[in-house]
Symmetry: C2
Subunit: 214 residues, 2 copies
């Protein structure tokens, strides 16, 4: 019991509620009620609402980035002068991400939603926090992607990477409603892992598109 359970259930409740309604629309009273703890517990354990938000991100991102860093090091080690292959890099990234929400695959969707919120919603403190804390791993990944796509100009590569990021964050963050739509429109739902499977060829093909026409 004691501290660990309170902290954990606050994080669980906050993660879910934030992803459903956004940060500003979720009150500490919503969170503490859902978590079954006292209102003051958030400020006692985390200090402020802002710190709670950052803690929610850190709980997911820290293990994910450590894992990813290891995987990337492994790739770099066995490269041995060879050029890395793009589909492999994408697979590796998606596999690591799927693994990060190891208890339920739904958790990746929840987290992608949070990530989308972090970018669209104001929350300047959050962007600064994420950049400072997890920027380096992203840089490492980008270096490998650059090596894997030598035929692209720096400019094209820059923009296409962000196109890919957009397609990913948007669809995975809306996966719940999108699979519901898919089920309704064509009688065929999908889970997150299947959506990722569909996403990868789309992204790989887009990244390697010819420069001008389609």
């Amino acid at each position: 019991m004691a501290q660990k359970d309170t902290v954990k259930s606050i994080l669980n409740a906050a993660e879910e509620l934030f992803s459903e309604r956004g940060f500003a629309e979720t009150s500490l009273r919503n969170i503490t009620t859902k978590a079954g703890v006292n209102l003051a517990a958030v400020n006692y354990h985390f200090g402020s609402k802002k710190s709670l938000i950052q803690a929610v991100f850190a709980r997911f991102l820290t293990p994910f980035c450590e894992d990813l860093e290891q995987e990337l090091d492994a790739v770099q080690a066995q490269l041995d002068g060879h050029v890395p292959q793009l589909p492999g890099l994408l697979m590796l990234l998606s596999q690591t991400a799927l693994r990060a929400g190891h208890d339920s695959p739904r958790r990746l969707g929840i987290f992608m939603r949070l990530l989308g919120l972090a970018y669209t919603q104001g929350q300047g403190h959050l962007r600064r926090f994420l950049q400072k804390e997890y920027g380096p791993v992203f840089k490492t990944f980008m270096r490998l992607v650059t090596a894997a796509t030598p035929e692209l100009s720096d400019e094209d590569r820059f923009w296409r990477i962000h196109f890919m990021l957009g397609a990913t964050v948007f669809t995975l963050s809306g996966a719940d409603s999108l699979t519901a739509m898919a089920e309704h429109d064509l009688g065929k739902g999908s889970d997150i892992a299947q959506v990722v499977d569909k996403l990868i060829p789309f992204l790989a093909s887009g990244l390697n598109a010819p420069h001008q026409a389609g």
Copy 2:
């Protein structure tokens, strides 16, 4: 003077502030101060904050959708039994969109940001409003896209359309910060129109990707 100016400056201020901070984080006091009007003016002219939000969307979307509908009718008329071509459809959409923010191209970025917010942020009333008001035009467009991509399964097409939507909304809504990043990283900025130019081959190639591998 009189009504028109007050209403207009409220809409202008709201559009900009909403796109910068989100809906919940922008107070009516922020908006009225920026607009240089009295606090009560919003409730007097629009009725409530919710209605203001919808009015911001309507001001952009209504002329855009009317324009798009005409263009689509024209395409359909001159089809004459032929199959529509995908790149043409995408161009048509992007041109219409760029035209909708006719005074400044920056406005399209602002509006895309709002669109992203509408999806990520709670705002159930907004999604219902958008669906009811502008759903039909979207359906028409989708019918043409379906005709233009007969080789795709309904499932693949459904998901890839949303991948495209995600890449578009995400990058155009973040165009301001992204072009700043691009300028910093590779000494080469871009305006919205140029980003759209880069986007189209990426999207077209992704939509036509082979089913399995990349």
